[in-house]
């Protein structure tokens, strides 16, 4: 970074002349600004994480992870077991739907091109910009009004949130796979489809996994669309997605908005659990991606 500032093509100064001093000053100012920006970004991030950790660890424990909330929210004790299980089920279902569709669409956009592909590309950008609450309202209107609140409805809304993120991330990675590799495959007499499946996708595996995990993390934290679809269920552990379900995010919300100290303690513990869950998913996915490509090319 420092060299970048120092090597700007200005008038060629003699070594040690006034030009050098000016460039050194510019360099110091530039480095300082960048350092400050970095420190601020990292600082805010650490603050959020640290605050959630401090507040969350006050209550997070075995009981929190193994029990449901008390019937009376003002009472202490209980936990978010139903939310944890609900999150895993709803986000799991959404991922199962969104990953093949998203990766498939990205392959189509990047590898096949054409007018339809450009349309898909454009729609993806539009979808990314749609607020999640609108997605929730959409699923509410089309699905919930007919079939009622359910884990499935929640999964559909989350899949809609994840889909454009996965398409975008996968398409970007696919563009980074050198054209030479595709041509090398084709020149061996391998069919285009087989070249994509056996050469291009494995090469892009690490990056695609990262993109999917970002989408999963985003879905884990979504609350608004779930209020309109999965609705929530603070009473008992529901494992059948055909019924209304709680998720971690919904439980954090419902407990946080009560004025009770005990409920807010549970909400903080839930928030911390959410963070840990997302980190765990990411770590596992990275590990799997590394194992699956022979060399760990990424």
């Amino acid at each position: 970074m420092a060299t970048h500032f120092a090597s700007r093509p200005e008038a060629e100064p003699r070594p040690g002349g006034p030009g050098l001093r000016r460039r050194m000053a510019t360099d110091m100012v530039g480095t300082g600004v960048l350092w400050l920006a970095t420190a601020l970004t990292v600082g805010v991030l650490l603050w959020v994480l640290g605050y959630a950790a401090v507040q969350g660890f006050r209550y997070l424990g075995p009981e929190f992870l193994t029990s449901t909330p008390p019937g009376d929210p003002s009472r202490a004790g209980g936990g978010f077991l139903n939310g944890i299980i609900g999150s895993l089920i709803v986000v799991g279902l959404a991922t199962v739907v969104a990953v093949p569709l998203g990766v498939g669409a990205a392959v189509y956009v990047v590898e096949y091109g054409g007018r339809l592909a450009r349309a898909v590309d454009f729609l993806t950008d539009l979808l990314i910009g749609i607020p999640a609450i609108v997605t929730g309202a959409f699923v509410y209107a089309l699905w919930v009004t007919r079939f009622g609140f359910s884990g499935y409805a929640g999964a559909i809304s989350l899949a809609l949130v994840m889909l454009p993120l996965i398409v975008r991330a996968t398409a970007e990675i696919l563009c980074l796979v050198p054209r030479d590799l595709r041509e090398a495959g084709l020149a061996l007499g391998v069919t285009p489809a087989r070249t994509i499946v056996s050469v291009v996708l494995p090469t892009a595996m690490g990056g695609i996994t990262t993109g999917i995990m970002l989408a999963v993390a985003r879905a884990m934290g979504e609350t608004a669309p779930l209020l309109l679809t999965a609705l929530g269920n603070d009473l008992f552990v529901e494992t059948h997605p055909d019924h209304r379900m709680s998720t971690l995010s919904l439980q954090i919300f419902s407990n946080a908005i009560t004025g009770f100290e005990a409920a807010q303690a549970r909400a903080w513990a839930g928030a911390l659990t959410l963070v840990i869950l997302v980190l765990l998913c990411t770590a596992v996915a990275r590990f799997v991606a590394r194992r699956s490509s022979v060399t760990g090319a990424r």
């Binding site: 096949y112 590799l181 020149a187 061996l188 069919t191 285009p192 070249t195 050469v199 060399t295």
Partner: protein, 295 residues
């Protein structure tokens, strides 16, 4: 005849997806050898190759004899790579690329819409300027990529095939103990020989090489030149090179292409036995080029 811009990955086109016609079982070894020893002749007739309607190389007619090493030489931009890529249909992989004229492989025009382009690319292999080992595959899987992914012989270990291809590419001794290691971990010269082995494993009749040594050190270059002379026993070689010493060292026939100035298509100036092109060229431009007066 003009052939439209075929989308490179146009698998929506059913003909592009057709499996190449294969013998039902692997032919016995001696028959294989016999097949390998009989590459088809390649005739280029009035070929013009264009990008976005602008011809890059025009009106080329030329015969490439079996078991010969043919060198394509000429100043940069004269269309050597384009001409080479026309010989197995890879030219049409570039966006907005078109071809007119014919490339007859054993008498059949490879640009005839009834011909399966995948079959052609199996018969006419290609090695690129920059080594392109598949980064997620081991050395062994790289060698077998064309065989496995093309399902020519189905799945299997093919230990003999791996050894044979690596031997022919002069890489066997260096990698025999680490066939499971990633192909990307080899040196540049080794990677290029791995790519040659990968191309040879498909047993092509003709091998096209586009400046295969230009990214390599002199020692690797010599190794590759030696192996070119050897693979001539089993297949025809067409090599693009900007290095005239290399053309003189490895080739039997030399084809000189030239372009007057940027913007006009390159043309074939002279083709003939390498000795003649370098010692007694018929054309003034050839003499100027080979004697180093320009280019």
């Amino acid at each position: 005849m003009t052939y439209g811009n075929r989308n490179p990955l146009d698998s929506l086109d059913p003909t592009a997806m057709k499996e190449p016609k294969m013998p039902p079982t692997a032919p016995p070894v001696d028959q294989q050898a016999a097949a390998r020893f009989a590459p088809a002749r390649l005739d280029v007739v009035d070929l013009t190759a264009s990008y976005r309607g602008l011809p890059a190389v025009a009106d080329v007619s030329l015969t490439i004899e079996p078991h010969r090493v043919t060198a394509l030489i000429g100043p940069s931009g004269c269309g050597k790579s384009t001409l080479l890529r026309c010989l197995n249909g890879m030219h049409l992989m570039a966006p907005h690329a078109t071809v007119t004229g014919q490339v007859l492989l054993g008498g059949t025009d490879i640009y005839d819409p009834r011909v399966n382009p995948i079959e052609i690319r199996r018969r006419v292999g290609m090695v690129f300027q920059r080594p392109t080992p598949f980064p997620t595959m081991s050395i062994r899987d790289n060698v077998l990529a064309g065989v496995h992914l093309g399902r020519r012989r189905g799945r299997g270990t093919h230990d003999d095939l791996v050894e044979q291809a690596l031997m022919r590419a002069g890489l066997w001794k260096e990698v025999r103990n680490r066939l499971k290691a990633p192909g990307g971990g080899l040196s540049g010269g080794q990677q290029q020989r791995l790519c040659i082995a990968r191309a040879l494993a498909v047993e092509p009749e003709i091998l096209l090489m586009d400046e295969p040594c230009s990214a390599l050190d002199p020692i690797s270059t010599l190794v590759i030149e030696d192996l070119i002379k050897e693979i001539r026993e089993t297949c025809t070689v067409v090599i693009v090179t900007h290095n005239m010493q290399q053309a003189a060292r490895v080739s039997d026939t030399t084809v000189f292409l030239n372009v007057e100035y940027a913007g006009v298509p390159g043309r074939l100036i002279e083709a003939g036995p390498t000795e003649q092109i370098f010692n007694a060229p018929q054309q003034r431009a050839t003499e100027d080029y080979t004697s180093g007066r320009f280019g």
